[in-house]
């Protein structure tokens, strides 16, 4: 843990975390545990949930919130950064600007891919070297050096907090005027992730009407020389076109940087962005109870069927796992689960990244409902049943007993964490 760039402790962030009334409290307290991958599949960040204190121990924040802290001991970067080659660049010939989304205040894997692409563009020509400038709206964005940024412009004024597209856009416009980056790279993700990039694209295009250069490329998934490939509407066509100034790139558009580490040298703007009137007001997040998330949007589901004998135990395990509950039709018919929780042909089609089926035999009508689940785990006493055949991992045994053992372990684990904290 020798890097001085990774901000391990941020007194301001900690202050905000403790102050529940602070307008940005939620941002600092939300676990950056999950985000949407390229195909709308939920991914999880393994480095969150419990933070690692300065002494390397897991600790719980006394504010009661889950802390988004620095990297854990098992961080991928830590393991590899000893072998990384340090790169410094004093006088770049041109700039490639990257505006990572930093959902929940830290780089996502999509952001890292974007930096990978930025490096590809900056380092393309050995004769003229480009610098990658990261522009973040959060002082708390670490890991930029490992991600591949040579320079770092942090715009961390409160006016950029939350959903503040107008102020952010004016800031980027000021950057464009001041430094004229050769390329702008922004993530094109599902939902709001792609918002700022489109605003910038349109604003910059307006500055140079009619120029083809100025017509942004959206949904770029590959850049090759000075051409790029965009995924067209409806996913059925690719568009090959010259690489423009503004590139909105999909996840996995390039490999993230893994061999080198860069300076991420902080820089500032000479001219302050003109403050703009905010016509969109962010009232903050709305509390959404995990158990109320519609089944078809739930990222992780524990489902029970006729093989479940101990339903209270089932519910308890689901709670400890943080999984939404699903059921087979028989479990619903028998009255153990509400109808809205039925998975399958006549229930809900689910898209969970991980689906655990306990005591469900895997009738076709049920399997239809989990067709789009990425990973399926079967817990069943019958090794020959269709669910076992469908599963990526099958555990043969008594479902109730296995769930009870899982619950016991998770519970013990929570206690342990608590003890660590007290110690």
């Amino acid at each position: 843990m020798s890097s001085g760039i990774i901000v391990r402790r941020d007194p301001r962030a900690e202050r905000i975390r403790r102050n529940r009334l602070h307008p940005r409290h939620h941002e600092f307290c939300q676990p950056a545990a999950r985000w949407m991958g390229p195909n709308g599949v939920m991914r999880r960040n393994p480095h969150t949930v419990a933070a690692i204190g300065p002494n390397g121990l897991r600790r719980l924040d006394r504010s009661g919130a889950t802390v988004t802290g620095g990297p854990s001991l098992r961080s991928v970067n830590d393991e590899s950064h000893e072998q990384r080659r340090q790169v410094t660049l004093e006088s770049p010939d041109f700039l490639v600007a990257v505006v990572p989304e930093c959902p929940e205040g830290r780089l996502s894997s999509h952001d890292r891919d974007l930096f990978g692409l930025a490096r590809q563009l900056a380092d393309r020509d050995p004769a003229s070297s480009g610098a990658v400038v990261a522009i973040t709206f959060d002082h708390n964005a670490p890991e930029l050096a490992d991600a591949g940024a040579d320079r770092w412009l942090a715009l961390d004024d409160d006016s950029y907090a939350g959903y503040s597209p107008e102020t952010r856009l004016t800031a980027l416009e000021t950057v464009a005027r001041s430094w004229s980056p050769r390329h702008w790279l922004l993530p094109d993700g599902p939902a709001v992730g792609s918002d700022l990039g489109r605003r910038l694209a349109v604003r910059l295009a307006g500055l140079q009407p009619g120029s083809e250069e100025a017509r942004a490329a959206a949904r770029v998934w590959q850049v090759d020389g000075d051409h790029c490939i965009c995924r067209g509407g409806g996913e059925h066509r690719d568009i090959h076109r010259p690489l423009p100034q503004v590139v909105l790139a999909l996840a996995e558009c390039a490999e993230p940087v893994s061999e080198t580490r860069h300076e991420a040298r902080p820089i500032t703007l000479d001219t302050a962005p003109v403050p703009s009137i905010r016509r969109v007001t962010d009232h903050g997040r709305v509390a959404v109870d995990p158990s109320c998330i519609a089944l078809d949007q739930a990222p992780f589901i524990l489902a029970g069927g006729r093989g479940i004998g101990d339903w209270p135990g089932f519910h308890e395990t689901a709670r400890l796992l943080g999984a939404a509950e699903g059921a087979s039709r028989v479990a619903v018919d028998d009255g153990y689960m509400p109808r809205a929780r039925q998975v399958g042909a006549t229930g809900t089609f689910v898209t969970a990244g991980c689906y655990i089926a306990v005591g469900i035999s895997g009738a076709v009508q049920h399997l239809q409902g989990i067709e789009h689940c990425q990973r399926v785990v079967a817990i069943n006493s019958d090794p020959g049943c269709d669910m076992v055949r469908r599963a990526d991992l099958a555990l043969i045994g008594n479902g109730d007993a296995i769930l009870a053992a899982v619950a016991a372990r998770l519970e013990a684990r929570q206690h342990e964490e608590y003890r660590h904290d007290v110690a």
């Binding site: 999950r34 985000w35 939920m42 999880r44 960040n45 393994p46 949930v49 991928v76 393991e79 590899s80 959902p103 959903y163 597209p165 939902a191 709001v192 918002d195 489109r198 605003r199 604003r203 490329a217 959206a218 949904r219 965009c230 995924r231 067209g232 509407g233 409806g234 996913e235 059925h236 066509r237 690719d238 568009i239 909105l248 016509r279 969109v280 007001t281 962010d282 009232h283 903050g284 997040r285 709305v286 959404v288 949007q297 992780f300 991980c354 055949r389 599963a391 991992l393 099958a394 555990l395 043969i396 045994g397 007993a401 296995i402 009870a404 053992a405 899982v406 016991a408 372990r409 998770l410």
Partner: protein, 272 residues
């Protein structure tokens, strides 16, 4: 509360399996959101080919749903006639400027053509209107402003208020569209508006140099497992890469099975 005037920008979509043209899924959600909000105050708007039959799908959504505002017996769609391959922005912007609507809903991206999702932004920029992206619900709307729930990943929501006029793009997390019924679809009125000379339909020139090709399958990124013991790397490689069938572990006592499960969930980053 008098229902506000709402326009919905729609265009036809493409079925992911059959490739047949039909409704675009996000556009249909936008129509649903508009109808649930404003009922009879909703008019659909499209710039393109007047012969496009799939637009009728949206008109088929003009039927009553218990508990929601009345939509009237006949759906309304204004169609700005325009040759394919031309730029719809100026036509739509002119139409919206004069339409008197203050709220415009649309999907995030079109399902055919470029599908860049830039159109709503171009319109907002040209009209000087506000834009909110990724709307999951509209909680309130009057003639001045709207309160909106914006969709965030993982079923999360953020509450925003925005001054009108505003263009809002509707996220997939928004409520599912109502069924499109045959009767209202046939009955719905499509008003074809021929562009005025002055509107100047610009041919979309840069696109002439683009090459459209069938989508290539994007290579799956291999899971790079760095660090860990050799045994862990082996296990990680075996658990996913090994084409087809999964692992079946029998003869485990519940304790061992629980350990296996937790280890698996951790390796798949479902559990920390």
């Amino acid at each position: 509360m008098t229902s506000p005037e709402v326009r919905v920008l729609v265009s036809s979509g493409r079925h992911p399996v059959s490739g047949r043209s039909g409704a675009a899924r996000e556009d249909a959600r936008a129509v649903e959101m508009a109808l649930a909000l404003a009922g009879e105050g909703v008019t659909l708007l499209h710039a393109g080919d007047p012969a496009d039959a799939s637009l009728r799908y949206y008109l088929g959504m003009f039927h009553e749903v218990p508990g929601l505002p009345s939509v009237g017996r006949v759906g309304r769609l204004d169609l700005l006639s325009m040759p394919a391959e031309s730029d719809a922005t100026s036509l739509l912007a002119e139409q919206l400027r004069h339409a008197g609507a203050s709220l415009v809903l649309t999907g995030m991206r079109s399902e055919i053509g470029e599908g860049s999702g830039l159109l709503p932004y171009l319109l907002a920029e040209r009209l000087g209107w506000n834009l909110v992206a990724g709307v999951a619900a509209i909680e309130h709307c009057d003639s001045e402003s709207a309160t909106i729930l914006q969709a965030l990943p993982q079923g999360q929501r953020r509450r925003l208020s925005v001054r009108l006029p505003c263009i809002a793009t509707v996220d997939r997390a928004a409520p599912a569209p109502r069924q499109s019924a045959h009767g209202p679809a046939r009955r719905g009125q499509i008003r074809v508006i021929e562009p005025q000379e002055s509107a100047g339909v610009a041919l979309d020139e840069p696109r002439g140099q683009w090459r459209f090709e069938p989508a290539r399958v994007r290579p799956k990124r291999l899971k790079v497992v760095k660090g860990g013991s050799a045994r862990e790397r082996m296990r990680a490689a075996a658990s996913t890469g090994g084409g087809g069938g999964g692992r079946v572990l029998s003869d485990l006592d519940p304790e061992a099975a629980a350990d296996e499960l937790i280890r698996y969930l951790e390796s798949e980053r479902v559990l920390q």
